[in-house]
Every structure is written in structure tokens, then in C-alpha cells.
């Protein structure tokens, strides 16, 4: 099926058993909201609300999540900033939720072109408090479908908000996609912590206010241990031609597919270059990178920003290897040729063409 990225997210969410969507219009992801309006209207258990604000939308997600059902909201960069309050609360209350960010140029209103300037916001928590969210980064229509399904599963498994970090191009572009079979929400296992009325059980509280400092500390450490476990269990990368690579490009999302095109070009010229494309931005796939750094001396981070994931690469490699950077912020989409030139320059400047 040839489908626009925004529609892929939406269809994948519905197939993941999501029957609750709340959103507020913002370009370039309105098609997602519109698709959900249609899809949920045709399902007897579907609920769609065009919320009065991003704040209202994320708080409606909180309500549904408290009731134990799968819920999703989506927006683009400025709208995601507004949702951060709710994301902090979801994290504190350990509520599952899926939030899709179609990144655009920023800061401020910026523009509506594809950009990757929200990496810090997404991977460092984004709102107030000591927390993390899982951040998934699809690089194709198919991955948009697969990672949306995974997002709902991770959200429920770890009771955590999951951000899918895409961009304007991913959401607007159409690519062929195959969807997994739909899940009937009724077939999902019951969650033992939900609010649905204290019938035949003690009453429950879902809250984030913990005035007692010891209890708050304990809760913070509990969250931390959960994040540690997630880091061990789900970090994920995609590798392309890395086996013999002397230089490895690290890029995610739209940048990763451009890098892939560039690598094909330089391979034709005999340059041994590969691609590591993180599919989880948090947890950052540090161990894959460390392992690769045992043989690879040079890494090129390519982002559609002035350098944000770059910091995670530096933190992972701790100065062991040469890290190069190339970035185009503001909604500029580099061409594969442009990146091929950058690769070429680095490759020969560092003398990687000489046999070891």
C-alpha cells in the first residue's frame, strides 16, 4: 500500500489497538489528525476529539491512559513543547502513552520544513523533573508502521510515554508499506493498576504529588531503575555496510536515508564507508557504537540540526575515536551528493584510503 507517512502512523496506531486520539491542528502533520478522525469515527469503540489545545490533548491522553486504554496524540515541534507538561506527568505517574512528533524547523514558530532540532527535547525528558521517555526514530514508511506498533507495546510494557521522533518529510512522503495484522483492543491483557471504579477491590490512586522527600527520592530511583532496564532491553540500531568500514556515518530518520544514498555513491568509488542508524534515540544504542569503535577509527555524525545527537556519540565514545560532524539545520534537506562530498573529504583528510 502506498501511503503518506502521517497516514502510516495513524493506520499503524489503529491496528495497534489504539481507539483514542486527541490532537490539535499543526502543519506538517494535519493529515495524521484527519486520518484518525475518519478511522476512529468508523469504529464503534473509537474516540476522536479535536482538542482546544495541545495541553488539553495530552491531558485527555492522561485520562484515557489512567483508564487503561491505549491512547495517542501527535503534533509538530511547537505543539510538542506545549505537551511537555503532560509528558512529565505521564512519566511521573508511570502511564503509557504514544506521542508522535513531526519535527519542523525551529526554534519558535520556525518553519514547516523537515528538521531534527528536537533531539535534545525528546531524549532528555523534555519537561521538568528527573525522567526519560523512550524515543523511536523511523527512517522509512515501513519503519513508521513497525515502530508505531512497537511504541504501543513498549509504552504498556514499561508504563512509560513513548515519543516517535520523525520529521516533516517522513510525514509527508508516501512510500509502500505493509501493516501487521490489527490487534483487537479487547484482546490486550488487562492492566492491574487502572482506575475504573473501586469495585471488589481497594480504591486506587494515580498521582504525581509526593511531598515526602524520602518517598520522592524512592520514586525517582524506582524510575531510574526502570530506565536502566529499558536501556539494557530495547536499544536498537540498523547497520548498513559496516563490516569492512573505515568510516561509519551515524544518522537517524530522514538524515539516515540521505546518508545511505551518499554511502552507495562513495562505495562505488571504493571508499569503505558504512552507516549506523539508531532506531532508539533514547535509550541511545551506546553499546553498538562502543563495539564498532573497537575497529572503526572515524565516525561522521550527520544531523538536520547544528549537532544534538552528536553529544550522545561523544558521550558514548568518551574521546576514544575521531568524531566528525556535518549538520544542516533550518529545514534544509541535504542531497546524497552533498554528503558524499563530505564523506570523501574526511576520508582522504584522515588518510583512511591507506591500507593498515
Amino acid at each position: 500500500m502506498l501511503l503518506r507517512g502521517s497516514h502510516v502512523y495513524a493506520e499503524a496506531a489503529v491496528r495497534a489497538g489504539c481507539r483514542f486520539y486527541f490532537g490539535y491542528p499543526i502543519t506538517p502533520q494535519n493529515e495524521l489528525t484527519e486520518y484518525m478522525a475518519n478511522a476512529l469515527a468508523s469504529l464503534p469503540d473509537g474516540v476522536f476529539i479535536q482538542a482546544e489545545s495541545e495541553l488539553a490533548a495530552i491531558n485527555m491522553v492522561i485520562g484515557v491512559s489512567m483508564a487503561g486504554k491505549r491512547a495517542m496524540t501527535s503534533s509538530s515541534s511547537p505543539g510538542i513543547s506545549l505537551k511537555q507538561e503532560g509528558i512529565s506527568f505521564l512519566s511521573a505517574m508511570e502511564l503509557p502513552a504514544v506521542i508522535i512528533n513531526t519535527m519542523r524547523g525551529g526554534p519558535g514558530l520556525g518553519n514547516i520544513a523537515a528538521s531534527q532540532g528536537d533531539y535534545f527535547q525528546a531524549t532528555r525528558g523534555g519537561g521538568h523533573g528527573d525522567y526519560r521517555t523512550i524515543v523511536l526514530a523511523p527512517g522509512s514508511g515501513q519503519e513508521m508502521a513497525d515502530l508505531t506498533r512497537a511504541a504501543f507495546e513498549y509504552a504498556d510494557r514499561y508504563r512509560i510515554p513513548v515519543i516517535i521522533l520523525g520529521d516533516g518529510m517522513m510525514s509527508q512522503m508516501m512510500e509502500p508499506v505493509e501493516f501487521p495484522d490489527p490487534i483487537d483492543p479487547k484482546s490486550l491483557p488487562p492492566k492491574p493498576w487502572v482506575l475504573d471504579g473501586a469495585k471488589d477491590r481497594p480504591s486506587r490512586i494515580i498521582k504525581s504529588l509526593i511531598l515526602d522527600t524520602s518517598a520522592m527520592e524512592e520514586h525517582n530511583w524506582k524510575l531510574f531503575r526502570k530506565y536502566e532496564m529499558i536501556e539494557k532491553e530495547i536499544s536498537q540500531v540498523e547497520l548498513f555496510l559496516t563490516d569492512d568500514a573505515r568510516l561509519v556515518v551515524i544518522a537517524y530518520g530522514t538524515a539516515s536515508r540521505i546518508a545511505r544514498g551518499a554511502i552507495k555513491r562513495v562505495r562505488e568509488m571504493g571508499l569503505k564507508v558504512g552507516l549506523m542508524s539508531p532506531k532508539t534515540l533514547w535509550p541511545f544504542p551506546k553499546r553498538y557504537l562502543l563495539e564498532m569503535s573497537r575497529v572503526v577509527t572515524d565516525f561522521l555524525v550527520f544531523e538536520m540540526s547544528t549537532g544534538q545527537m552528536l553529544e550522545d556519540v561523544k558521550l558514548s565514545l568518551e574521546g576514544r575515536r575521531r568524531i566528525h560532524f556535518y549538520g544542516r539545520p533550518g529545514g534544509i534537506i541535504s542531497t546524497p551528493d552533498e554528503i558524499a562530498k563530505v564523506i570523501n573529504n574526511i576520508y582522504f583528510k584522515e588518510g583512511l584510503e591507506t591500507e593498515v
Partner: protein, 190 residues
């Protein structure tokens, strides 16, 4: 093999539909495809364009900085995209609405009077299908058969009459090329 085509015109000319039908047709023909519409402020009412990439392997960037083909439906489209076309690339012009000639001499130029043909056919709105039929017939980027199948798949929810009109448009465009009736400004570059 990687071929990038830009369809450009003003809102209402059906340029996004042309690209979409081509993309679906090529996908059904077993190719890798991406379809990238222009979006945002410019798509609402003003000019519209989309880029279709077709390849036999994974497509890196869906953007075309130097397209192989451009289908220009109005003057602003020609002005905007003429400079971007690859050397030895081709531009297809709707000669009913474009009254200027491309300046570049390293590209092929084909002129199709799409509005006139559409009027002759009795449905002016099928003008985009005439362009698409002519384009595919000339470039053989996909087969006419798969184009017909793509058309049926894309507009299968609409009325049968709609499908028929569009089908006739595609056929008319394709025949126009086969008969060699079209205005060719520069063909067979050395």
C-alpha cells in the same frame, strides 16, 4: 536505476494526482517508489508540486534537487524548475498554458496542448491525465497497462464515470505521443 520526476502546476490542475497515480503504478510494477508532495502554505490555493522517485533499489532521498523529468503545467512551474533539470533531462510542457520557451539547450522539451485535447475529449478536467499519458508513453517509465491499473486503484472509491473519463484521458495522451503529433522543441540531444 533511479528516476526522479517533478509534477508542477497550480492548485486544481491535478498535479498531485498525476504523481500519485504514477507512484502507485510503478509500485505495482515492482519498483521502489517515494512520493513527496510540496506542503504547507504554498499548497493551499497557489502552486503545487510533487516529486516521484522510482528505482529498482532503496531510495535515499525523496527530494529531487536535479530531476530527470519535469511536467510543467503553467508558466511559473517552467520558470521554477527549468534550471533544476538534469543535463539531458526532459521537460514536458502544457503548451496551452505555457507561452514561453525554455532557454536551456541541454534538455529535451516536449509540448502537449493538454487543455485543447481535453476539450476535444469533452472533459477539461482530464487534462492532467492527458499529460500523464503522454509522459509515460514517451518515457516508458512504467507501462501504460500498469498506469491504467494504478488509475483504477487510486480512484476506485469514486464513480465509475470518473474512472472512465480519466482512463480516456490517459489513452488520449498516450496516442497523441504515438502518432508523433506533438510539438517538439528539442529532441534527441547529442
Amino acid at each position: 536505476m533511479l528516476i526522479k520526476t517533478v509534477f508542477s502546476g497550480f492548485g486544481g490542475q491535478g498535479v498531485l494526482m498525476m504523481g500519485y497515480i504514477l507512484a502507485v503504478s510503478a509500485m505495482r510494477g515492482g519498483m521502489q517508489v517515494t512520493y513527496l508532495p510540496s506542503y504547507g502554505a504554498e499548497v493551499r490555493g497557489g502552486t503545487a508540486n510533487c516529486t516521484v522517485s522510482i528505482s529498482d533499489e532503496d531510495i535515499a532521498s525523496p527530494v529531487a534537487s536535479s530531476p530527470d523529468y519535469v511536467i510543467a503545467m503553467n508558466n511559473p512551474s517552467l520558470i521554477r524548475f527549468e534550471g533544476q533539470i538534469k543535463t539531458k533531462g526532459t521537460i514536458f510542457l502544457n503548451s496551452d498554458l505555457i507561452d514561453i520557451d525554455p532557454e536551456r539547450e541541454d534538455i529535451e522539451v516536449f509540448k502537449i496542448p493538454a487543455n485543447t485535447l481535453a476539450k476535444k475529449m469533452g472533459s477539461e478536467r482530464a487534462m492532467n491525465m492527458i499529460m500523464l499519458g503522454a509522459f509515460v508513453s514517451k518515457t516508458k517509465i512504467t507501462s501504460i497497462d500498469s498506469l491504467m491499473n494504478g488509475l483504477t486503484e487510486v480512484i476506485n472509491t469514486k464513480s465509475k464515470k470518473q474512472v472512465e473519463i480519466n482512463r480516456k484521458g490517459l489513452e488520449m495522451g498516450a496516442k497523441y505521443v504515438l502518432k508523433g503529433e506533438w510539438g517538439c522543441l528539442r529532441e534527441k540531444l547529442n
